[in-house]
Amino acid sequence: MDSRFATDSEPSENHRSETGGPARASVAALFWTFFRIGAFTIGGGYVMVPLIQRDIVERRGWIDRDSFVDVLAIAQTAPGPLAVNTAVYVGYMLRGIWGAMASLAGCILPSIIIILVVAALFDQISSSSYVQAAFAGIRPAVVVLIVSAAIKIGRPVVRSRVELALAAMAMVLVAFVRISPALVVTAAAIYGLLSRSISGNGGKDA
């Protein structure tokens, strides 16, 4: 996608680099990053958005915010779990096919291990009042984390009234009218293609 994604010629640096291109992502680092994210994504893919943004965009500096939004757009338009789609795309962008496979493995391994362990003990776990209470406590925090992700992602993206209107419309269509996110993203993409006036720079990366 964007030329500033890590390539083999980038200097090896595992920290954010605001000015000079992205940090280099090793296949192992991709695996562990997505393993960590997979282990803490409770209650569906959107919980992963703030976690992945924090790790991949802010802490590691592997991709910039605008590109992260593009990744989310494609992850939501394609079929399949959002977390899996995002992991595969980010992995591919940074390290090609092996990066994609490492991210995928990292993302789904915690689920597989945990489910296989708890499948046998399911009745005890799900009926534990402590477990249920803990999740009642986690859910409000999840709302806050998703809101903070929307703000962080939205700030550089929503700069004009047209963009604000597009974002608001997408929210209403998905949250209240229950239109599929894939349809909304596709419609917005077509609108962007046909319109020249969405943002001052013609949609180029800032």
Binding site: D2, S3, R36, G38, F40, T41, G44, G45, Y46, M48, V69, L72, A73, I74, A78, P79, G80, P81, L82, A83, N85, Y89, M93, A100, L104, C107, I112, I114, L116, V118, A119, I125, S126, Y130, Q132, A133, G137, I138, P140, A141, V142, V143, L145, S148, V157, M169, A170, M171, V174, A175, S180, P181, A188, A189, I190, Y191, G192, L193, G202, G203
Partner: protein
């Protein structure tokens, strides 16, 4: 044979699910319960519950769980591979396509339309979760505390989740 059928059934579920894990549940229901007769509705409800209280994408959790119930550990792994196969193929194809057209103004315009919409979708997700998460005064106060930790203390999201879980276990039990 059961392994091949598991793989194919979950590949079908993965292929036709748009818009995240919850959208996948009705598909699993029609394919696995009514189509294959592999599970009862009661077992399916258990699976949804377990997928909700364990980490990881709900689709992946459900696939592992159903596969394990039907064919043990290998079944769990095969069903999970089935559910992610369509995603992997389609995403890789899209990523290669995007790389090829990375400098086109057409793609730049497409992105300029998609980006604000994605922000809207994330906000919509917050609303959806809020409906089931913010149900009483206690849960709203938990959200306020989390907001303080996220926006003021700037704590790591994973720590915020861990603290909220611990507090929840104390407050809500």
């Amino acid at each position: 044979m059961i392994l091949l059928n598991l793989y194919l059934s979950f590949a079908k579920v993965g292929l036709f699910t748009f818009g995240g894990g919850y959208a996948m549940l009705p598909l699993i229901e029609s394919e696995i319960i009514h189509g294959r007769g592999w599970l009862t509705v009661r077992e399916f409800t258990d699976i949804v519950a377990i997928a909700e209280v364990t980490p990881g994408p709900i689709a992946v959790n459900s696939a592992t769980f159903v596969g394990y119930r039907l064919a043990g550990v290998l079944g769990g792994i095969v069903a999970t591979l089935g559910v992610v196969t369509p995603s992997v193929v389609i995403i890789l194809a899209l990523a290669m396509l995007a790389k090829r057209f990375e400098n086109s103004t057409g793609l730049a315009r497409v992105k300029s339309g998609m980006r604000p919409a994605v922000v809207g979708l994330i906000a919509a997700a917050a609303l959806t979760v809020a409906r089931v998460a913010l149900v009483d005064l206690k849960s709203i106060m938990m959200a306020a505390m989390a907001a303080l930790l996220v926006f003021k203390v700037k704590l790591d999201p994973i720590l915020v989740l861990a603290i909220s879980g611990l507090l929840g276990a104390i407050i809500f039990s």
